[in-house]
Symmetry: C2
Subunit: 445 residues, 2 copies
């Protein structure tokens, strides 16, 4: 009966927090015209192993009936939503309209060692825009805007969306006379974990830079501004290259375009390189105040080749939000909802014989969109009120009884008033579960 | 690149149908106070194999990095939502409030042979009410009512919710003098697939009934009424037993209580036995007109022991709707949505330089809850209108340009009018994707 490590599950009130978050994300993505898709949980192993990076963390499937000696099914659980999306795009290219903007909110799995305490199942929310052959740059700005807006409404501490651009880095390195800029990026990308002097050393020993080149690369990585002034700061380092110019202008547009979302700071941060090969321009990472140890909770960027079928290439730009990565620690720290059920009203029961009358009240409320449940048994009213309290249901309805008219009580404050099942409504804020902020979450906006 | 059989995936417009269905289910379950939960996709193998019935269809997980010679992870993908729910209830018994009513809408997996053309991944929507030690009967009625209401709003052909009660069957068999009624039920349950005379034979050879007993059992299985008249029909067979009386009264209450949902016929159908051991009272199955070959698309019942930890038992009653089982064939037959994106409005682009003006119009619409996207590029307006048409976006917005005011066109009919981004709204029915009924679906209500 012990819980499986790495497979987080929420209690009902906590799940209400997750639903509030997922609904908010969906609302924002819908408003911006992103289409919802879901892909199957499994991909063929050759799809999953195409990019080498995390092939060690795949869960392979075997049919139990296939027997011990039999081979695997040739399928594994997806470990992200990008590989399945690329496969979906190619598989349905003839039926999709490009540019195709989609969001995908699904679980992913990684076959981590149990003892590491990492998630082995978690929910991601990805948005991507993909085109056939060519994807105009303004979509980079759009993706940043949409995700900033989505992050903005979340019940979480202050977020910092860090934006960089691989063209800035590559152009800068080329302008510095470095022959192999791609060897520099993965080293600089470790600045979060490795001290700067070690990085400078590695740049010389592993990437063949001079001490001066290494120092200038580190100076670039130090540039970090909340507005477009990063352009001047980079120029001041005295390096020029056409690719650098292009990258600086792109980055400027993203930083300006994504600014203004409440609770989300936008920062041009040239330390962000994202080691992954496939990024070719804009790159994103996101930190959460007080939870920096989680690393980036929302990352992505521009990739000029999401997929290719030999005839067409499909460039894309996207960001992936780690919903579980964000929520599980916050919930562990006390983030929850005001109730464990969707019910706004508990309709009390005078006695078992009058259950039909209580059911009628509940039906009348539901007909007007008010979630209601009827008490499980005709206990004393005090016990029925406790029943509601334990679930966080804010209102208890006492059905008309003899000369007594219908009454409804806000059990949080004890206010009680006569009410008509055909017209009464709770305050709008009480209609759905809402976030409960525990003291430890007061760092929040 | 060939699709994996048994793993259905929807195109964006089809996915909109699924979202409409899932949203409707969720709305009904929420209104009735059922709490949403999600359990992890995996269970330990010993949990999955506890009930013998479908142990052959489990997908077992192996970590790729564990190596060829290494053993399985000891975990498999869940094949239904009942086993995980029972485990969740026991694991969290101290933190849940009983009676606990929950819904769970998730994918499940079955390791079927690929060639069978069966689903290997599909979505189910389960509702259950579970209590500690004792669960009053009125919850059977409630579960039937809630699912009937949920089924009622679906964009599907006429449904028939067939209700029976194991107490009626068992009591009847006992009253007939049959010593082992549990041997009779699995045989009678096959009446759908096996001719009645074969069943009569089996009842004699396999369950030891006399020819007369077998005939009377088949007469009971013939009782099928849309109202409470089944009680008289059963009485007319001349069998009496206290358990039969109890079952008839229970079944009467469910049939009356669940009646009245539009598009859903409620039938007391004593052919329905459900072979599964764990049902102890009410049982449900559901057929869809024109799709009878699918079998039951929504089934469940009362089980007096959903779970037990030795100290407490947890009786429950629930129904499981096969969302994919229902939708995949309907979508294959042409059920779809009016658009492949959530967008209600495409904001046209006069030229690339005025993109900011178009983005402002889209933002103003979104601020009032109207999904809007901006054209990808400043093609001729005719091409931008085609862009909207191909996606099923009903309105194209032409931003103010010089002396020309903002204009919005309903491209389905060609109507165009001046409009203000701060106040214009589409008809409410155009705000979200809606079901498109193709001719083959006209059999629908």
């Amino acid at each position: 009966m012990s819980k499986l490590s790495g497979f987080p599950e929420f209690l009902p009130a906590e799940r209400n927090v997750e639903l509030i978050v997922l609904d908010h994300l969906r609302t924002v993505f819908d408003l911006h015209g992103f289409a919802s898709i879901e892909t199957r949980a499994v991909e063929t192993m050759d799809q999953l192993l195409r990019k080498g990076e995390i092939d060690k963390e795949v869960y392979v499937l075997r049919r139990l009936q296939a027997g011990e000696g039999d081979s695997d099914s040739g399928m594994g659980l997806h470990f992200d939503l990008t590989v399945p999306f690329a496969r979906y795009v190619l598989e349905n290219a003839g039926k999709l309209e490009f540019p195709f903007r989609r969001y995908q909110i699904q679980k992913v799995w990684r076959g981590e060692r149990p003892q590491q305490g990492r998630f082995r199942e978690f929910t991601q929310a990805d948005i991507d825009i993909v085109a056939k052959d060519e994807l105009p740059f303004h979509f980079d700005v759009e993706v940043a805007q949409v995700m900033a807006e989505a992050l903005s409404g979340l019940p979480v501490p202050q977020l910092t969306l860090q934006v960089s651009n691989r063209k800035v880095l590559e152009g800068f390195y080329l302008g510095l006379g470095i022959a192999e800029p791609t060897a520099v990026m993965p080293i600089v990308d470790k600045l979060d974990k490795v001290p700067a002097d070690k990085i400078a050393e590695q740049l010389q020993t592993d990437a063949g830079l001079t001490a001066e080149q290494a120092a200038t690369c580190l100076a670039l990585a130090d540039v970090r501004t909340t507005d477009e002034s990063f352009v001047e700061a980079v120029r001041a380092l005295g390096v020029t290259h056409p690719l650098l110019d292009e990258g600086l202008e792109e980055l400027r547009q993203v930083v300006i375009g994504a600014a203004g979302a409440k609770g989300v700071d936008i920062v041009a941060d040239l330390r962000i390189a994202r080691g992954l090969d496939y990024y070719t321009g804009t790159v994103f990472e996101t930190r959460m105040a007080g939870y920096e140890h989680l690393g980036s909770i929302c990352s992505g960027g521009r990739y000029d080749q999401l997929a290719s079928d030999g005839k067409n290439t499909y460039p894309g730009v996207g960001i992936s939000l780690g919903v579980s990565r964000l929520l599980v620690p916050l919930v562990a720290d006390g983030l929850t909802a005001d109730r464990s059920v969707p019910s706004t009203v508990l309709v009390a029961l005078v006695d078992e014989e009058s259950r039909a009358a209580s059911v009628d009240v509940a039906s009348a409320l539901r007909a007007r969109g008010i979630p209601a449940e009827v008490a499980a048994s005709a206990q004393k009213f005090g016990k029925q009120i406790r029943y509601a309290e334990r679930r966080g249901i804010p209102f208890v309805w006492f059905p008309a009884n003899g000369d007594e008219p219908h009454k409804v009580r806000d059990i949080r404050v004890g206010d009680q008033a006569d009410a008509d099942p055909a017209t009464w409504a709770p305050p709008a804020g009480d209609l759905k579960p809402r976030i409960l902020r525990t003291p430890s979450k007061e760092q929040n906006t």
